[in-house]
Symmetry: C2
Subunit: 330 residues, 2 copies
DNA sequence: TTGTAAGCGTTATCAC
DNA sequence: GTGATAACGCTTACAA
């Protein structure tokens, strides 16, 4: 491995000077700088990040914690984070909790070790009180997650607005029997609460009384969606429309509805959440709420970098807008 | 940050002894070992990987290079790699090339820096001759990719068998006008070749002459699929079945076919490749070739670890079987 | 503007 | 069985 000393020898300077060139110090004679750069080029020198990390403050790695990368939502989020991070000179470490608390803590140790210089959490398995101590070792930014503490740097979309827009849309289409079928991904914090309140608000405003048997929570997967359809079929008083918390649930619903001979949207209108690629391909294509995932990832990185650079944050909460994408299922 | 010296002090031993406990050296008195372990526990000590990397051979990080994590195939692959890696005590660094040669080389530098101890390449942007020199710095395993050199450790599925099974299936369903629409992901190496040959072989065996205008290559996305459908509609002599190289193309085809009022599979049979979740949800559901992605990821990790441990490889090529999943689209 | 030297946390080598 | 000590490659006071 070619190191800073080899470069120094080749360039005929001290390793200090080489280090200065690497780190763009201001006061170096153009001559020596050129010599050093040439030597680096010739020898194919790449600074050793382990050494830099060990030595000092240098930051080059950020970690993202997600529950499952195979969930397209998180794949897109990680994609955005990786790209923005790379653009700004950071490597991205992907950490998958698979919803295990212990794995999450193991990954938080990255911060302690200075293996990662900052962490974006797009999943929270443990209580914030477990996680909070790690902030002593480096910045943690929440992305699409909620905790009760208000001072935790957070990027998220406006879940209330998204849900409200979806329910309004159904009401405008003439529906009054609207099922609500969601499930905060993995937490009991604010996400569900926001959605719940938006559902209630939209219905109240339209003078519709809520039917508690049409409220289903903790549904996430395609399988869950299929089961929900079975529930609906068994009901004496069936809803005419369903708001779902993810395109996955909506897909499952749709599959089961098709099997049961129901016509969508005539017999049952369905609305998803996320606008995953699948939404467009489904038959009928799925009306859904588009989340600005890329923007969310980019913002999370930018916020994290600000924190790593010790810059003051203009705001601790960044709320992004959502968009209703109307297709054939409603 | 609590380090090995703090632990040594707390336990009343030298840091050498602490290091020995960490690394499970044989000859340590049970007493001291216990003291050290207790001290580590009390102080919440975690060895600093940067220091370990800088110092020595310790291996804890593997990198996976993929073109795009948002492609479900790679998401599932990365998922499998991350899980198997974690199980064996490795962290996974996800590297996304976005099909840029320079980004790939930048990520290969991880090996040079000893930031990663081994690399799994599920994409190859550069020529192997560009990549080969990096093998001097650590092992590289190819996953789902081909190069002409035969001695490169490789895990992949049997593309020939998969394609052959798909075409055979269509023939058995009575089709004789079979379009072939694929696109090696990003390489001109063997993957396409294998598929091409399988297509030819299956047709020849059935006594069907090949219609060159029904052979389309370099198609990858949903958009591509839509465009292919337009091509088909413009043909005087239309195929009655299409083999596609990915579920994405198949999805696009299906969407466009639906819009054009074609019935699937009666007017046109479609077969995909990968068995992504979308395949089951499509309407009609998609017949496709299932790739053992998880197994592939696991094997790649195992092979890489063998190489990192300097163990001899029993075989340099690991070919995994595929499975035809018959659904409604054929 | 440049160089010397100390030290980041760990492990390998050598001595006891 | 245990402990000093010297590296690993880099950055940063402090000197010159």
């Amino acid at each position: 491995m070619v190191n800073i000393i080899d470069v120094a020898r080749q360039a005929g300077v001290s390793k200090t000077t080489v280090s200065r060139v690497i780190n763009n110090y201001p006061h170096i004679s153009p001559d020596k700088r050129r010599q050093v750069l040439e030597a680096m080029e010739q020898l194919g020198f790449v600074p050793n990040p382990s050494a830099r990390k060990l030595r000092g403050q240098v930051t080059t790695t950020i970690a993202v914690i997600v529950p499952k990368i195979v969930n397209p939502f998180f794949a897109y989020l990680v994609d955005a984070i990786e790209q923005e991070g790379y653009r700004q000179g950071y490597q991205t470490l992907i950490c998958q909790t698979n919803e295990h608390k212990s794995k999450e803590l193991a990954y938080l140790d990255l911060l302690k070790n200075k293996q990662a210089d900052g962490i974006i959490m797009a999943a929270i398995e443990n209580n914030w009180s477990e996680i909070e101590p790690y902030t002593a070792f480096g910045p943690i930014v929440l992305c699409n997650e909620y905790v009760n503490q208000s001072d935790v740097p957070t990027i998220r979309i406006d879940q209330h607005e998204g849900t409200y827009a979806a329910i309004r849309h159904l009401i405008e289409r003439g529906h009054r029997k609207i099922m609500y079928c969601t499930g905060g991904l993995f937490t009991d914090y604010g996400k569900d609460k926001d959605r719940n309140q938006a559902y209630q608000r939209a219905l109240e405003e339209a003078g519709i009384t809520i039917n508690p048997s049409w409220i289903l929570v903790d549904r996430h997967t395609i399988e869950d969606g299929k089961k929900v359809m079975e529930l609906i079929l068994d009901m004496n008083d069936r809803p005419t429309a369903v708001f779902t918390g993810s395109d996955e649930i909506a897909s499952g619903l749709m599959m089961a509805a098709r099997k049961a001979g129901l016509h969508i949207p005539n017999d049952l209108a369905i609305i998803g959440f996320d606008d995953q690629p699948i939404a467009e391909v489904l038959s009928p294509s799925l009306t859904t709420i588009r989340q600005p995932i890329s923007l969310m990832g980019k913002q999370a990185v930018d916020m994290l970098i600000q924190l790593m650079d010790q810059q003051p944050l203009s705001t601790t909460l960044c709320k992004l807008p959502v968009e209703l994408v109307i297709r054939e299922s409603t």
